[in-house]
């Protein structure tokens, strides 16, 4: 039986990078819209 490849590390990396980019952008927008 063909084994499922063990490449979970890439998955984690991609999910982390995406979260960082989207959260980072959201934060940037938040700070730019709430400056006094």
């Amino acid at each position: 039986m063909l084994e499922v490849p063990q490449n979970g590390g890439y998955m984690v990396a991609a999910y982390v990078v995406t979260a960082v980019i989207l959260l980072g952008y959201a934060l940037s927008l938040y700070r730019r819209t709430t400056k006094p």
């Binding site: 063909l2 499922v4 490849p5 063990q6 490449n7 979970g8 890439y10 998955m11 990396a13 991609a14 999910y15 990078v17 995406t18 979260a19 980019i21 989207l22 959260l23 952008y25 959201a26 927008l29 938040y30 730019r32 819209t33 709430t34 400056k35």
Partner: protein, 231 residues
């Protein structure tokens, strides 16, 4: 509620739902047989690509409308869509190679999709750089609109030229990147992700639009003039 606050709420909800999609994709969606866990990057990469394309399309539309009616709101909208599009295409550009490496064995390949990804990113960056370089608001709006329309028209040509190139120089593909038909559970995850990314697009654009309004208000206070100007 101000635009900024409404946008903030939508973004907030979008991010919370994104977390839910994460949980669903990582823990409650089956692992693909031949590609392994790395296939799950698909649930982020494809919706990000969709959002980036949507952003570019709306930059183009906003640009056309601005040149036709010269309403500052279209220019603000185009600028907002461009910045948001840059963020999404960055997600696309990073998840693409991270996905490609385990699946195709190489970080990068000049196939039609990845190359289009790269140049879409360059188009957004160019648009933002042009806006940064032109200070006078009326001029900036017109110039950006011209660039925005050209960028939109360019996309099908890039896709076509890379596609033609690829059909002549086929790359050996180790595994097919996505199955032609997705089992139900995976399809639901993908659709949920699409919905969340679209919601995030809306929230982000509202907030970024509000940023423009804030800048204009500040500039107006500073000079006491600039009625027709917009940032």
């Amino acid at each position: 509620m101000t635009l900024a606050q409404r946008g903030g709420w939508i973004t907030g909800i979008g991010l919370a739902l994104l977390a839910a999609v994460y949980v669903r994709a990582l823990a409650f969606t089956p692992v693909e047989r031949f590609q392994g866990p790395a296939q799950k990057i698909f649930y982020l990469h494809v919706p990000a690509a969709w959002s980036a394309m949507l952003s570019m399309g709306l930059v183009g539309l906003g640009s056309i409308l601005y040149l036709l009616v010269r309403d500052a709101r279209f220019d603000r909208f185009a600028a907002a869509s461009a910045e948001v599009g840059t963020a999404f295409s960055l997600v696309m550009l990073t998840t693409g190679p991270i996905w490609a490496k385990p699946i195709w064995g190489t970080w990068w390949t000049w196939d039609a999709r990845l190359t289009l990804t790269l140049f879409l990113f360059f188009l957004f960056i160019g648009y933002l750089l042009l806006r940064g370089a032109v200070t006078e608001p009326g001029l900036r709006a017109r110039y950006s609109a011209v660039l925005g329309i050209c960028g939109l028209v360019l996309l099908p040509f890039i896709h076509l030229s890379v596609y033609l190139f690829r059909t002549l120089h086929p790359q050996p593909i180790v595994l097919k990147p996505s199955a032609p038909s997705l089992p139900g559970s995976m399809l639901v995850t993908l659709l949920a992700s699409f919905a969340v990314f679209t919601l995030l697009y809306v929230g982000f654009v509202m907030q970024r639009y509000a940023v423009s309004l804030l800048r204009e208000a500040r500039a107006g206070e500073g000079e006491g003039e600039g009625e027709g100007d917009h940032a």
